[in-house]
C-alpha cells in the first residue's frame, strides 16, 4: 500500500511535469521515423522487423526509464524520500511506476510497428504476448535498479546505456529469439526453454534488486 502511494505520487508528478512521458514519446516518434526513412521503399524481412522492434524498445527504455530516480536526485528530493519510507517501499513504488511506463511505451511501439511495417506479422500471438509480458517486466526491473545506481553518479547520461547494455543483453537476445518463434508460428511448448530463461531472468533480477537496493540507497 505504501509502495502504491509512492507510485501514485510519482504518477501525479509525472502527469504534471512530463519528465519521462515527453522524453519517451519524442524518442519513439523520432526513432521509428528514422527507421522508416532509412528503409524507404526497400522490403525488409520479418525477422529484421522483429529485431528492430526490440532495438527501439531497448533504446526507448534508455531514454525515459532512468527518470524514476534521476528526477528525485535532480530536484533534491532524495532525502525527503529517505525520511518518509523504507528502502523496500521506495524500490517497489519506483518499480510499479516503471512497469506502467514500460507497458505504455511498448504497447505504443508495437502498435506503431504493426500499422507501419507490412513485414511485422506475428503468427503465434499468444507466444508473442508471453514474451511481451515477461520482457516488459524484465526491462522495468533492470531499468529501475540501474536508474537507482546511476542517480548517485555524476555522469548519469552516459552511464545509463553503458550499464544497461550488459544487464539487458541476455533479456533482449531471448526476446529476439521468442519474437522469431512467434513470427514463425511455433508452438509455446517448442519455445519453453526461452520462456523459462525469460521468467528466470525476471526472478533473478527482482531478487537481486531487492537485496542490492538497501546498499545503493544508503549513502
Amino acid at each position: 500500500m505504501k509502495a502504491y502511494s509512492l507510485f501514485k505520487k510519482d504518477w501525479q508528478s509525472e502527469l504534471r511535469t512530463r519528465y519521462a512521458i515527453n522524453a519517451l514519446a519524442m524518442f519513439i516518434l523520432v526513432t521509428i521515423s528514422v527507421i522508416m526513412f532509412s528503409i524507404g521503399s526497400e522490403k525488409i524481412t520479418e525477422y529484421l522487423t522483429g529485431g528492430l522492434l526490440w532495438v527501439v524498445i531497448f533504446f526507448s527504455a534508455m531514454s525515459g526509464l532512468s527518470r524514476a530516480f534521476v528526477s528525485e536526485e535532480e530536484r533534491g528530493t532524495t532525502m525527503t524520500l529517505h525520511l518518509i519510507a523504507a528502502p523496500s517501499t521506495i524500490f517497489s513504488g519506483k518499480l510499479i511506476f516503471n512497469l506502467l511506463l514500460v507497458f505504455l511505451m511498448n504497447f505504443v511501439i508495437t502498435f506503431l510497428f504493426a500499422i507501419l511495417f507490412n513485414s511485422f506479422i506475428i503468427k503465434n500471438f499468444t507466444l508473442f504476448a508471453i514474451a511481451f509480458l515477461f520482457g516488459n517486466i524484465g526491462i522495468a526491473i533492470s531499468s529501475t535498479i540501474i536508474a537507482a545506481i546511476i542517480s548517485k553518479a555524476s555522469s548519469k547520461g552516459t552511464l545509463y546505456p553503458v550499464l544497461s547494455f550488459p544487464i539487458l543483453l541476455p533479456l533482449i537476445l531471448t526476446l529476439l529469439e521468442l519474437t522469431k518463434h512467434a513470427m514463425d508460428g511455433n508452438s509455446i511448448s517448442s519455445s519453453f526453454v526461452e520462456i523459462a530463461v525469460l521468467v528466470c531472468y525476471d526472478v533473478v533480477m527482482l531478487t537481486a534488486s531487492y537485496l542490492l537496493f538497501d546498499f545503493i540507497w544508503e549513502e
Binding site: M1, S5, Q12, R16, R75, T77, T80, I84
Partner: protein
C-alpha cells in the same frame, strides 16, 4: 507518555581523509531540547544526518530506543521529523498535496485536522492549495516544519531551523519547538544564538576534532 532516547557511541566521521569529528559519546532523551553548535564546516549537518540515519558514520553506532525498545534502522523514518535547508519538497504539488502524499507513503492516515492546525499556526492555511513552486523561501521553510511535525514523531531534528524566516516566523517556530519538547526529544543544529538559547545541553563540535 513515550520515552525516546538516542545514544551516540564513539561516533567518528571522515569524508575521504578529512576528519569531521571523532569520539562523540552522548545520550539524548525525551522532554529536552539539545543543541549542536560549531562554526561552518564543523560537521553539524553531518552529525544530524547520522542521527537521522541519512548517512552512516565511519565508526561508532547510533542507537534509537522507544520506551527501551531498540528501533531497527528501516523503521526509523516514522519516528523522526526533520527540518533542514537541504531538504526539498515537491514543487509541482500544493502544500496540502505534499502533506497528503507524505502521510500516505508513510502508511499513516492523513490527519487533516492536525494538518490544518499546523498550516494555520505557521500562517500557510490561505496558501495551502497553491503550488509550492510559487512559495517564497520563508514559506517553504515553514512548510518543512509542517512536514516534520505532521506525523507527531517522538524525535524532531532541526538543522538551522530559522534560516529564511522573518522575526514573527522565528517566534512562532520557537513556540512550536518548546511545545514539542514537552513530550518529545528535540535536537537543534545551529549557529544562531537565539536557537541555541532554547537548548538545555549543547554539543560543541569543535571539541571532537582531534583523535583521542
Amino acid at each position: 507518555m513515550t520515552n525516546y532516547t538516542v545514544e551516540l557511541n564513539n561516533l567518528v566521521k571522515y569524508f575521504g581523509r578529512r576528519l569531521i569529528f571523532d569520539g562523540i559519546n552522548f545520550s539524548f532523551s525525551s522532554r529536552h531540547i539539545y543543541g549542536i553548535s560549531g562554526p561552518n564546516g564543523s560537521g553539524k549537518s553531518t552529525l544530524v544526518k547520522i542521527i537521522a540515519n541519512l548517512i552512516s558514520p565511519t565508526r561508532g553506532k547510533v542507537i534509537h530506543k522507544n520506551n527501551s525498545n531498540e528501533i531497527e534502522p528501516f523503521r526509523l523514518h516514522n519516528q523522526i521529523g526533520f527540518v533542514s535547508p537541504y531538504l526539498f519538497l515537491y514543487d509541482e504539488f500544493t502544500a496540502e498535496e505534499n502533506l497528503l502524499h507524505f502521510s500516505n507513503i508513510r502508511g499513516i492516515n492523513f490527519n487533516k485536522e492536525r494538518s490544518d492546525y499546523l498550516l494555520n499556526e505557521l500562517k500557510l492555511i490561505d496558501r495551502k492549495n497553491d503550488l509550492v513552486r510559487g512559495y517564497s523561501s520563508g514559506m517553504k521553510q515553514r512548510l518543512k516544519f509542517i512536514f516534520a511535525l505532521l506525523h507527531q514523531p517522538p524525535l524532531i531534528i532541526l538543522d538551522e531551523p530559522t534560516s529564511n524566516l522573518d522575526n514573527p516566523g522565528k517566534e512562532k517556530v520557537y513556540t512550536l519547538i518548546r511545545k514539542e519538547a514537552e513530550n518529545n526529544l528535540v535536537i537543534i543544529a545551529s549557529n544562531e544564538d537565539s536557537d541555541i538559547a532554547l537548548c538545555s545541553q549543547v554539543i560543541e563540535l569543535e571539541k571532537f576534532k582531534r583523535a583521542n
